[in-house]
Symmetry: C2
């Protein structure tokens, strides 16, 4: 090939390549989102698998994947994944949708009947298990010299939110779902969720109004309770008719859309009522509980959960990786951060551990119940990321809090395992 | 209640409400996206259901829902849904993802073996069925006085892309999937897809380079063919190993992520090679064809299609509604627009109808084969929206083109039905 022909070829290539990049129809947005999604999902799935093999919850592995991606700079790779996630509406809304769908599925797992039939024991465990972490959290926050402001209350609230999924999964695998101690744990976790969400609504209001009167508190709590009762009442009354009308349509695709819209509508109604969207999604999930639909061309019975699961999985991966990506590893090496993590972890374990001892009656494993309430998991993370996105915490504290949630999620199952024989 | 107390209450309410809206954690972005999703999905699902009941494809109903939402101004409702969709990265990327997932599923439906074994009859139908609409489209575009530029070629390319899904569904419902005429249609549609995508790559290059040499054409076609062959070769060689390694993981959630990442990776590779992302996704789908995975806690057999279906459904709804929303109804009342629609519809029906008569041999229904190729459906829409988003067409022409695609999609099944007895 002569020099001239080579030059000609190079010119053609140089002229054609940008044209082709454009012609490919792949916008810069498409490329960035696609590459990000591929890396996030693949890494998160494999980390989740690895952590599960090591006896830890999958969720911890997914957040670990996020921590890796968010701290690539430490390995000399100059890619700011945390910033890419923050600046993308797609990733942001997907993460918000993840929370809504997650609480919807939590609601689906909970049973309305069980919720109403929750015994005094579960109620005591839940109330003490929320009050103790809050007050101990505020106290320790004060002792740590982090101030007496609203941050301390947020920390306490975050430590109050139990994630029952991990414990329930473990008890289910051990065939202990019918034991009386398990029922106390599951019942308490449901009340816990409701109390936690109300706490969040109240605290968030404190942040913006600056000071806070008892009247506001009463108003928010009344609204939350009112929303809960009105929605449940209307839902129980009209849901059968809605399902009946909707049942004219047999496509599975239709039911995916219907379930998603139901969760979104309830979330939005809660938001309009001034509550957190997730409480609405939770109530919608409660309403749909135990509903089996006839869907699909072959009229298979499929659960709403199954239809929403693929969407929820992808969205939750984005959410968990996003949480991990915002953890700044180098800030955790600071002795101050380590002190915060250690102290809050102690509060988290002790406060929930003690809540089990409020149970009265025979045939319960009080310590086991307390230990079963330890994992904070996704619900704690929802709170922490809410506070972070509303600038209650700086990045250092947020990183420490995420680590505390992660550690409780790892510690919970480890501590509970040896107690299972007493259940 | 005294006037003073009432004032006090009003003040408290006025002060609390914005605080609550903030406290609810529902950002403006969340509210707008959520409301939009609820309306889009609900309306599209019900319109799809209604149109299906009326004997038309569901897709036509979904686009009809989009047309309603995009033309609310005509009913005096001042909400610009088309603009909301255009300005949202979430909606935009979801629509792009929809196209990738759609072509991935089309690839899954196609069978590599069938593609290689496609007979001369199917090849003839495909080639003539692509060449005729392109040249007739360019000619009619010229006769309509719309100029000789690249727009005419885009119109022709759009008229060339067959959507076999609707015809296949109809033939399947009639139990005719094994007839020799059906096999010609399905085989031709697969080649049609490949030819169409290449045509798109070439035309898009023309738009940006202004003029276009034979060398560029050869280069693009060679690259597309090369990508196709290399990917298929490497994929067939390494996919079994990849599946084998990945099979260590039994969670359904993992397989959802894996399939999605596979489609995205192939799409991105195609984009890097200067091709349309959708050709990559299509090849990835071909590679995964007939792969059944062992997934789920109960080791159920689930198809990749089933795991991706819920995500694809929601994303496709966003895509179809978005397409409909960009149709401006008032521009269609213009006599010029009506002339375009009528002429192109005639070209669309006649050109594909004639392609069937290239079939040689006995036992074929030549007219039926041609009529089976008429629906343009989603593939035609992908082309039209590509051209629109790259500003090849103004809004009026785009609206007319979407109507042509819709009408062919409605006309196809109607014309084919009486011929089914000859298959």
């Amino acid at each position: 090939m002569t020099r001239k022909t080579r030059l000609l070829w190079l010119t053609v290539a140089a002229a054609t390549l940008p044209a082709l990049a454009w012609a490919s129809g792949a916008s810069e947005m498409f490329t960035q989102h696609t590459l990000l999604l591929i890396v996030m999902i693949t890494l998160a799935d494999w980390c989740g698998w690895l952590f599960e093999r090591l006896g830890m919850p999958e969720l911890v592995g997914q957040i670990f994947a996020g921590i890796i991606l968010g701290n690539l700079a430490l390995a000399g790779v100059d890619v700011d994944v945390a910033d890419m996630l923050r600046s993308s509406h797609f990733m942001q809304y997907s993460a918000e949708l993840a929370v809504v769908l997650l609480l919807f599925l939590v609601g689906l797992e909970s049973n309305m009947g069980d919720l109403l039939r929750v015994g005094p024991n579960a109620t005591k465990v839940a109330v003490v298990g929320v009050a103790l972490p809050v007050f101990m959290g505020v106290g320790v926050w004060h002792l740590l010299g982090q101030g007496d402001g609203v941050e301390g209350w947020f920390v306490g609230a975050m430590l109050a939110a139990t994630s029952v999924g991990i414990t329930a999964g473990m008890l289910g695998a051990a065939g202990l779902l019918e034991s009386s101690s398990t029922k106390v744990i599951l019942g308490a976790a449901v009340i816990d969720d409701v109390l936690g969400v109300m706490l969040l609504a109240v605290l968030a209001s404190v942040v913006i109004t600056g000071d806070f009167s008892a009247l506001d508190l009463v108003w928010i709590v009344a609204k939350a309770v009112g929303f809960f009762l009105v929605t449940l009442f209307l839902g129980r009354k009209f849901m059968p008719q809605i399902i009946h009308v909707t049942s004219m349509n047999h496509h599975a695709s239709f039911w995916t859309g219907f379930s998603l819209c139901l969760a979104l509508t309830a979330a939005q109604l809660a938001a309009f009522a001034g509550l957190a969207p997730l409480i609405g999604a939770f109530v919608a999930g409660l309403l749909l509980d135990d509903v089996h639909f006839v869907v699909g061309d072959d009229f298979q019975k499929k659960r709403v959960e199954e239809l929403l699961q693929p969407i929820t999985n992808i969205m939750l991966t984005i959410f968990f990786v996003g949480i991990g990506a915002q953890v700044e590893l180098q800030t955790l090496l600071d002795p101050g951060a380590l002190k915060i993590i250690g102290s809050l972890l102690l509060v988290a374990v002790v406060s929930k551990g003690l809540s089990g001892f409020t149970v009265t009656g025979k045939g319960f494993d009080r310590l086991g119940i307390g230990l079963g309430m330890i994992p904070r998991g996704e619900v704690g993370l929802v709170f922490a990321s809410f506070a972070f996105s509303h600038k209650v915490f700086c990045c250092e504290v947020y990183s420490a809090l995420v680590m505390v949630v992660l550690l409780t999620t790892i510690a919970g199952p480890l501590l509970l395992k040896p107690r299972l024989k007493y259940f």
